[in-house]
Amino acid sequence: MTQKEIQRKIRELKTLASQHRLDINEDLSRIVSKLDGNRTDDISPWQRVETARHPQRPTTLEYIQTISDEYVELFGDRLFADDPAMVGGIARIGGIAFTFVGHQKGKNMKENLRRNYGMAQPEGYRKALRLAHQAEKFGRPLLTFVDTMGAYPGISSEERGISEAIARNMKEFSVLRTPIISTIIGEGGSGGAIGIAVADRVFMLENAVYSVISPEGCASILLRDTKKAQLAAGLMKMTARDLYSFGIVDGVITEPQGGAHNDIDFVAARLKETILSNYRELASKKTEQLLKDRSRRWLSFGDFYDPAEKQEGFLKKIFPWM
């Protein structure tokens, strides 16, 4: 979290300076570049976006197949339908039975039509929640894999309550009595992504992106120019490295040159190792501790100026364990 702390201090400094009408931007950017000194990031944010969207990028089921000893896919939300844009089931990985859920894109036009390009509808999120509750009931840890442009923005999706489904998932995941490890493997698009990404640990593949809106959406709405998506990709700070520096994700999983599709085994090995080592760490905690830590994590997100500097104090007062 030191990166986050530094970033935060810099922002506070900036606010203070602007209140006192001091121009310290130049000095600040020098500090920032020194902090970043040891990095050579010659891959642009837009290139990351393109890699994350690569038609051959490995999907949830491909990773599951690669990292598990054996797995069984399970279907349906028990309410309305099975949503092929969201898969789930039970996978034995390193001898441990995990429940998994994840967005599922296709690799060709036909499969993408069936899977709606990984844009899940309410029944997808409700399937994920059903399987999460099963995991909780039987003490299986939960793995989630995020890879979606966003929840499907269509009439059917709205009619059946996509908002309710996403909201309920976040609430229930946040207090699920079993360890949850989430990985953004491709696109982490807005509410559709976070609808299955409330977890104890969140990882990103190196070329994955995670954002409140697509670069195109940002360009169109905020920059009022749909052609500025590449610029927006940078401004939105949506790369794995950005989010790691913000402390929003816990780690970045290296990809081979050019992206995960060039060597899925390489990525899967690191993914598996990350999952197993983090699972072991989480499993060693008592459930109450696990939930307190998760609670602390999610309540802490946000960056704002508080004149009373009482954020910590406030939460501590409300919940002594904070």
């Binding site: 506070e12 923005p153 009439i155 409140v212 997100f301 946000g302 004149p307």
Partner: protein
């Protein structure tokens, strides 16, 4: 509990010609004009008469958009409330261009300090934490400040054992705050999970418009969900959906009545009946025999 209304305080700061902006909030297009017409029935409305009617068109029952101070004037007994966490402001976490300028402009134009106001007040004698969003502050968008204030208010209800009432009005995420904005969806939802454990109820009232990340988080997590008539409520905005499906949306789609029919709103309630309804619900959720554990 009593404390001078911030609303009144800000009003005095404004140049005389702009003071009715605070009451007039509503829809800027309407209230920046000298003569006001109801956007629903197009009939002319008198400002004072409209205000006396809770900003509901006395011709056609159209509910004008109102801001937090006005909402609290209608709800809180004697218009009195105690506000919390009012001083929070953005740090522009992404260094997003023009965000700070827009933020300052929104503060000046609306007379509000952020898109949400969190207070404790009494309604017909029932004490509650009341959270009210204001659409005219940057489209009621949720950034770190909005998420934090709502989270704190929900947790305050949990701590004090008070019911919580939440009026939504938002275009969704504050995009300038990027991922920090997205995280507020999970944060506020988690706060509600914590409130649930205390047995205190959350009543959500959806007002026009409520869309995007706000709809897909706390707006849909009430124990009882009410909505003002004909409010636009959805995840994706109508234009986005029309872009997806390449056709016009049906009449009434994503409106309160539609959501009630689709099972996501418990009841559409007129603004003028809202206080009585909330009092009934608070009683029904608190004064009973107590949950059996």
């Amino acid at each position: 509990m009593a404390r001078p209304q911030i609303e009144t305080f800000f009003r005095k700061l404004l140049p005389k010609g702009k003071r009715n902006l605070l009451y007039g909030t509503v829809d800027d297009r309407v209230f920046l004009q000298k003569e006001h017409r109801c956007p629903a029935c197009s009939k002319p409305v008198e400002n004072d008469k409209l205000k006396d009617n809770a900003f509901v068109c006395y011709h056609c029952n159209h509910h004008f958009r109102i801001s937090a101070p006005e909402r609290l004037r209608l709800l809180a007994d004697n218009g009195e409330y105690q506000e919390f966490s009012a001083g929070l402001s953005t740090l522009n976490p992404l260094d997003f261009p023009e965000y700070e300028e827009r933020y300052a402009a929104a503060r000046e134009k609306s007379g509000l300090d952020e898109a949400v106001k969190t207070v404790v007040c009494k309604m017909k004698g029932r004490e509650a934490v009341v959270i009210v969003m204001s659409f005219q502050f940057m489209g009621g968008s949720m950034g770190s400040v909005v998420g934090e204030k709502i989270t704190r208010a929900i947790l305050l209800a949990a701590q004090r054992g008070l019911p919580c009432v939440l009026f939504t009005a938002s275009g969704g995420a504050r995009m300038q705050e990027g991922i920090f904005s997205l995280m507020q969806m999970a944060k506020t939802s988690h706060a509600i999970a914590l409130l649930e454990r205390t047995g205190m109820p959350l009543f959500v009232v959806l007002t026009d418009p409520t869309t995007g990340g706000v709809t897909a988080s706390f707006a849909m997590l009430g124990d009882v969900t009410l909505a003002e008539p004909e409010a636009l409520i959805g995840f994706a905005g109508p234009r986005v959906i029309e872009g997806t499906i390449k056709q016009k949306l049906p009449e009434g789609f994503q409106r309160s009545e539609f959501l009630q029919q689709k099972g996501f709103v418990d009841r559409v309630v007129d603004r003028k009946a809202m206080k009585d309804m909330l009092a009934f619900l608070i009683d029904a959720h608190l004064t009973v025999q107590g949950a059996k554990k």
